[in-house]
């Protein structure tokens, strides 16, 4: 009843092609953005920032980056964290070797390094497809693992590959407090998210989706598979690189190569599968799910155990988390293989018709 598009007529193509074509959607999203920028920094607790909000914002960006490659262009990649690592260590090198460089510039340069790395490791996709490509992308992952551990130049000769940053500021404003970090990350997410949405609904986005859906037919209508695939790798890696910078600089503070391990790559893949492939919003849903789930489990399990009057050790709790996480993944994939984004759009469909059933 409230969600109908009745009366919303579009009189220009421009209006028809807006990101949020339905007025109610526009209002809701603007309200959400306003809330996220203006209200949250003042009301959220320190714990909320550290444990949920900041990781959520950064991982949404990373998931978005990976979704461009996997969801929109159809190239399965198991090496997402490698690109984050290249971004993080790249930006670190710029900051350390060029003192005084603006933070934003260092961040963008980190992204560019990641993009270059992505294009190089994306070249095989021109010949290799499907699961073979997925496994081949692990080459990027393990190479990055090794590079930052063994090649001392990248870590300024740190013995274990561990590095740290501090004293971050932008335009003279220090970014030490949690709300400040949160706002900076959120701004980056908003800017890159908008740019991604524009790319994805434009010509290059259609090229990516054409390659995903049927690359032989795509060649016949004049799309160059090489250009499409390599730009997908480049854009995706750039975003992942920037997310890596944020993750290292603003969430971890100090890190070593293991912070960007295969585990993170797989988590990213979970996020976009559960959130929804080929959906910007889905990336954020997925990130929220994967970040919040372990926290919920660590809270719920002991409480549940106490209900049954059973003492549960931390190791046992960790094991139980694994079991439940595994089961949830499989269950979710059975119930909604297209992810939370599909659930969301189905929900909206029902909202359109409410209070009628069909």
């Amino acid at each position: 009843m409230f969600y109908r598009e009745n009366g919303q007529f579009k009189t220009s193509y421009r209006a028809d092609q807006q990101i949020f074509a339905i007025a109610q959607d526009r209002v809701a999203v603007l309200a959400l953005i306003a809330f996220a920028f203006a209200v949250v920094p003042f009301v959220a607790s320190e714990y909320l920032f550290a444990a949920i909000l900041i990781p959520f914002v950064i991982m949404s960006l990373a998931a978005l980056g990976l979704n461009i490659l996997v969801g929109y262009c159809g190239q399965i990649s198991l090496g997402g964290a490698a690109f984050m690592a290249v971004g993080a260590y790249g930006a670190y090198n710029f900051v350390m070797r060029m003192p005084g460089i603006p933070l934003v510039l260092a961040m963008l340069l980190g992204g560019v390094c990641a993009a270059a790395f992505g294009v190089v490791f994306g070249l095989p996709s021109l010949r290799i497809k499907g699961l073979y490509l997925a496994v081949a992308t692990l080459a990027a992952q393990f190479f990055a693992d090794w590079l930052f551990l063994r090649i001392k130049w990248f870590t300024l000769d740190s013995a274990s590959g561990a590095v740290a940053v501090s004293g971050l500021s932008i335009l003279g404003i220090p970014l030490e407090s949690s709300p400040a970090k949160y706002l900076f990350c959120l701004t980056v997410l908003a800017v890159l998210g908008l740019a991604s949405k524009n790319l994805v609904r434009g010509a290059i986005g259609r090229e990516w989706m054409a390659i995903r859906d049927m690359d032989v037919a795509a060649a016949v209508i004049g799309i160059r598979p090489m250009y499409a695939k390599l730009t997908a790798f480049a854009v995706s890696s750039f975003i992942l690189g920037v997310a890596g910078v944020l993750w290292g600089f603003f969430y971890l503070g100090s890190w070593e190569p293991a912070a960007f391990s295969l585990d993170i790559s797989l988590k990213l893949l979970f996020m976009i599968i559960i959130g929804g492939l080929g959906s910007i919003m889905g990336s954020m849903f997925g990130a929220a799910f994967i970040i919040i789930l372990p926290i919920v489990l660590t809270r719920v399990l002991p409480w549940f155990a106490s209900l049954l009057h059973v003492q549960i050790t931390t190791t046992a709790a960790t094991h139980a988390e694994f079991i439940i996480f595994g089961m949830l993944i499989v269950w979710f994939l059975i119930v909604e293989p297209h992810g939370l984004a599909r659930l969301w759009s189905t929900g909206k469909q029902k909202m359109r018709l409410w209070p009628f059933p069909h």
Binding site: I76, I128, A139, D215, F322, G326, V330, I334
Partner: protein
């Protein structure tokens, strides 16, 4: 020269051990087009089961003979893997029949997390031993040709023979038995196989059982060598380049791929590694497999991927 040969032989044998793990991947992919990311965890799970059962069976039944205890433990672990196979098919695979490759891959990842949690809860998280009487003392061969002879690890040698025997058995199974033929039909075309009355779900259970036994053998061999611990599950990551190099659908490919990867890994680490800081084994194997794929995108023996318009 002698040192080079030693490294080569050691690498080839390690390669056979990788092939053991790779076999599990290939079997499951061949019959159900599922890339089983949980294979590594299955190896760990099976090894844990066998290790612990070998400890517990004497405690429960008072049997003294270690050989008997080991045999019973092996059988027990195998039965457990059959149960896992049945559960996986029943609860997961059956409901994911027409989903995309990526979805199925993620599902096996979920299964991996699940098995890891269950394994550690039921069997414990420490390091355990599997002692099946493998010879540990190094032996020296070709003493006549090389000064002092070439060092060969007998444990690896025995393991390589076990792997070869398993492969031969599987090859016989696929080619000569009716179930084997049914498996090959399913691997070719699910729907066509169904339409001639081959029960898909039963075939999948059988395949996962066979893969489970392959995992058990791999776990037994590796566990005897390294001890049964968490790192066994990451072993599968070392075996992945073998799978894609050999071709996702080829059993002989797993062997050939294993030999190539095993040898190159060892040789590159020993001869190239010192120049670049060491520790290059793991990515070298992947990059090598990747280079091969550039020339043959379907692996050495894999089926060509045909796109029809």
């Amino acid at each position: 020269m002698g040192f080079f040969l030693e490294t080569l032989i050691s690498g080839l044998m390690t390669g056979m051990l990788y092939a053991l793990v790779a076999l599990g991947f290939v079997l499951i992919f061949k019959a159900s087009s599922v890339f089983n990311f949980a294979q590594g965890v299955m190896v760990l799970f099976a090894a844990l089961a066998m290790a612990r059962l070998a400890e517990w069976i004497p405690q429960w039944t008072g049997i003294e003979s270690k050989v008997l205890a080991n045999v019973l433990a092996f059988i027990g672990a195998a039965l457990l893997m059959f149960l896992v196979a049945w559960l996986v098919e029943r609860l997961a695979l059956r409901h994911l029949v027409n989903q995309s490759e990526t979805t199925l891959l993620m599902a096996t990842l979920g299964i991996a997390y699940f098995l890891e949690g269950v394994g550690q809860t039921v069997f414990g998280g420490d390091i355990y031993k599997i002692d099946i009487g493998m010879p540990k003392d190094p032996i020296f061969v070709l003493k006549g040709l090389f000064d002092g002879g070439l060092l060969v690890d007998p444990e690896d040698l025995v393991a390589a023979c076990i792997a070869a025997a398993l492969v031969a058995l599987l090859a016989l199974f696929f080619q000569k038995t009716t179930t084997g033929r049914a498996l090959r039909a399913v691997a070719d075309d699910h729907q066509a196989a169904q339409s001639v009355g081959i029960p898909l779900s039963r075939i999948w259970v059988i395949v996962w059982c066979v893969a489970g036994v392959a995992a058990l053998v791999a776990g037994m061999v590796w566990g005897s060598k390294l001890g049964v611990q968490f790192s066994l599950s990451t072993l599968a990551l070392r075996a992945l380049p073998v799978v894609i190099l050999g071709g996702l659908t080829s059993v002989p490919g797993a062997i050939v791929g294993g030999l190539i990867i095993g040898a190159s890994e060892k040789l590159s680490e020993v001869f190239l590694g010192p120049f670049v800081g060491g520790g290059i084994e793991i990515w070298f194997a992947y990059v090598l497999a990747l280079v091969f794929l550039l020339f043959r995108p379907q692996g050495l023996f894999g089926e060509k991927i045909i796109d029809r318009v």
